[in-house]
């Protein structure tokens, strides 16, 4: 065992340097270990695409990917993401061109106020990769962690179908 090394591994409660890989870029932030990934992104890295809707893991507005899996960033500690690959809505467009899911959300009007939209899109793209978009009922079930209070739900399902089926000029399937 490495008990003799344990004191070095203890970080906090004061501020510590945390190294994060976000959207392919390496960031060093000096934060307290209690800072959530969501607050780290928004307040310490000026990446405000992930939204704070409840800070309790109930609304999904803060959905991002950690190692390609969708997580709620408000219930994830930033420090626990060291050595992992974090992807946010800011990393979805490639070379200035929108991801097909972003295009589909626009053309199907799958958004109104837009506040839940980044989380919806992060979930929607992951959902296709997970293979959970077989039917409207399946899409509805697996998108139910992302609340849209404007209730654009039917249009969100349509946008996901469009991308799944490669229709509506939204191009390649994601995943």
């Amino acid at each position: 065992m490495v008990a003799s090394h344990l004191p070095d591994a203890v970080q906090g409660p004061g501020r510590v340097d945390v190294v994060l890989n976000v959207n392919g870029a390496t960031h060093v932030v000096r934060i307290e270990p209690r800072v959530s990934l969501l607050d780290c992104l928004r307040d310490h890295m000026n990446l405000t695409g992930a939204k704070k809707g409840c800070n309790q893991g109930a609304c999904g507005a803060c959905t991002v990917w950690v190692d390609k899996r969708r997580v709620v960033a408000c219930l994830t500690l930033a420090i626990a993401c060291e050595g992992r690959e974090v992807t946010t809505i800011e990393g979805m467009a490639e070379n200035g061109s929108l991801h097909p899911m972003q295009k589909a959300f626009l053309s199907e009007d799958a958004l109104q106020c837009g506040y839940c939209t980044p989380g919806q899109i992060m979930s929607a793209v992951a959902l296709l990769a997970e293979g959970h978009a077989g039917s409207d009922a399946e899409i509805g079930e697996w998108m139910s962690g992302n609340i849209c209070r404007c209730a654009a739900y039917p249009n969100i399902r349509t946008a996901i179908r469009d991308v799944r089926d490669g229709v509506g000029g939204v191009g390649r399937a994601a995943g």
Partner: protein, 743 residues
Amino acid sequence: MSTAIGRPLDRVDGHAKVTGAGRYSAEVALPGLAHAVLVTSRVPSGRVELLDTYDAERAEGVLAVLHHLNLPKGGSVPPLLPSLFGAAASGQTFFPMQDEVIHYAGQHLALVVAETLDQAEHAARLVRVTYQETASVTTVEQGRDRAYEPERIFAGFMPGRTTRGDVAAALDRAQVTVENTYHCAANHHNPIECSATTAVWEGDRLTLYDGTQGPNATLHTVAELLNVMPSHIRVVTDYVGGSFGCKAMIWDHPALAALAARAVHRPVRLALSREQMFSSVGHREEQEQRLTLGADRDGRLTAIRHHKLSPTSHFDDWAEPSLSVASQMYACPNYEGVYSLIKANTMTPTFTRCPGEASGMFVMETAMDELAEKLDLDPLELRLRNYAETEPTTGHPWSSKGLRDCYRRGAELARWSERDPRPGAVRDGNWLLGWGMASSAYPVTPPGGPQRARARIFADGSAVVQSSFADFGTGSATAMTQVAADGLGLPLERVRVQYGDSDLPNTAAAVGSAGAGMVSAAVHIAATALRDQLIAQAVADERSPLHGADPRQVVVGDGRMALRDRPGTGETYAELLQRSFMADAEALGTWNPPGMDTPYGTMTFGAQFAQVAVDAELGLCRVRQLIGVFDPGRVLNRKTAHSQLMGGMLWGMSHALLEGTIMGPDGRWANTSLGEYLVPVNADAPDVLIETIETTDTVVNPLGVKGVGEVGMVGTAAAIANAIWHATGRRHHRLPITVEDLL
């Protein structure tokens, strides 16, 4: 000649929303930004005995702890006035942290300001409050015996009691009556973006980044609260993460953010938590309604008696106007409507999507269904027999009414004539199936003062149109781009609309489904004024091919002015401006709305149909389809308008089956999270079929826009409740209708 208006244009702010680039009011990056966190009351009534800030003030990073003993006093609380009037619009006539008295649980008691959000949140937990608690009243049941009849409600705009004819006599003579008591739970708006304000002082000038339905409402309210000149305040509202009424009036947090920023000499962000959203920005009040309908054997209504009882705050006589639209829906000679209130330990209730229309029409349309059942009449036929050809409360003609067409088309889409009228007649396995319908209507209310926009065209023929309104998801920025393009005669891609800033030409808050109508009026007038100004310049210019032409014979398309009957003769705006050495030209458009006393009934109407499936053993209710046909006047953008109507209908479904804030025995809201306050998730939302019937309306505003923001919700709950009766044979008079009710 309209080419852009009506088209299903994608949202102009959509790119910023799907990329996460749009900055909401808690996302503005500012150097030196400090964070404020509220400490709130845990008891509903009493006094603060001791507020101990010793530990909080000494916690790391803390800059200030503000409370009733040290908060700098400024101006005064303005009266409660709906923000549609364009003036100060305080959500309640109470400002916290002025003394030690506690009026409701969740009341703001202290504000902790620190370097980082984590430090502020931590220090807020270190503030120790001890209370001297007194007995409280927070529900209809607790306050029933101390109810009173207010002279006026709703900021004084509505009488507490309205009568016409002789209801008692008519009910005595009625051949059929239906009488029931109904109960609707309290509701909270719960937009996904919690309210937030970021405040920045530069000397004696204040900039507020505020999530609001009305930047000018924030400006005027904060000006009065802080006793700062309106000219020294600017409110910026680039993006708003939903409102549904909780950002329609102005609460204390924008002013508190400004006071905190002044105290610490730094920019301050104050963002409410989800839990604080339940006791900081108003709610739809719990309410009991009692409705008696009297009719003859043919189903013609002879009497309506409609009473409402609801709690309000200690400060204001507020009830959402649940009796209004229900009294305007059907022709009926005898009417009595009475509001009763209870002074309770809650905030002042406020506008919540369909404020009053949804609750009142749930009651009216459920009762109409029961009347149809009693008379063995088709529910749709009963509504047609009571169709109001004129506005029932005044006798005025309608400015437009397409309701008959809505009923006809909705019935077609729902295949209503094929419905077996007997309840419980159709099954799909274990599911009992039912169809129900209801009428919808929502008033078209003019704003309280002139609405303005400015149109500016540049020498290259591109234009910017400016107006102060906020787009909080309605699609107004997109629709106004279309209105501006048509007014100017420019292609869409050459027009940009700038909005969400109180420094731009004045508009009232976009509330009460009035935003599209009033802002489109100002934008249309500004755009066409600039167009006419340039045409006048061209026909007066010897060097113009249009010189000497009758301006009325000049038309504009694609940025080119030409003679109506000789399209080859003309020139572009760009040619005219460049030749005249003009870098730009601009015009201000002002729309003076018709007064409240315009002799017309003005409403958007609709017909709504719902299909539900109720599990015979488990009591689960699934809404399988919603259908709505509406007559919103002119539709500015078919795509965004349908989204608004769809959202409204799903709000109605939520009102019917899910939403209710529960008051705990301790006088605090008990389910203050999105885990416990139920709102629909994707799997709850059925497909929604929407059609609009475009009626011409020359009364309401220049483009004849009646509005779509709320009417979609009005009839949904009753259509669902009536469908549940059709599926199960049981009536429900309480919202939400839960599994327990259906078992």
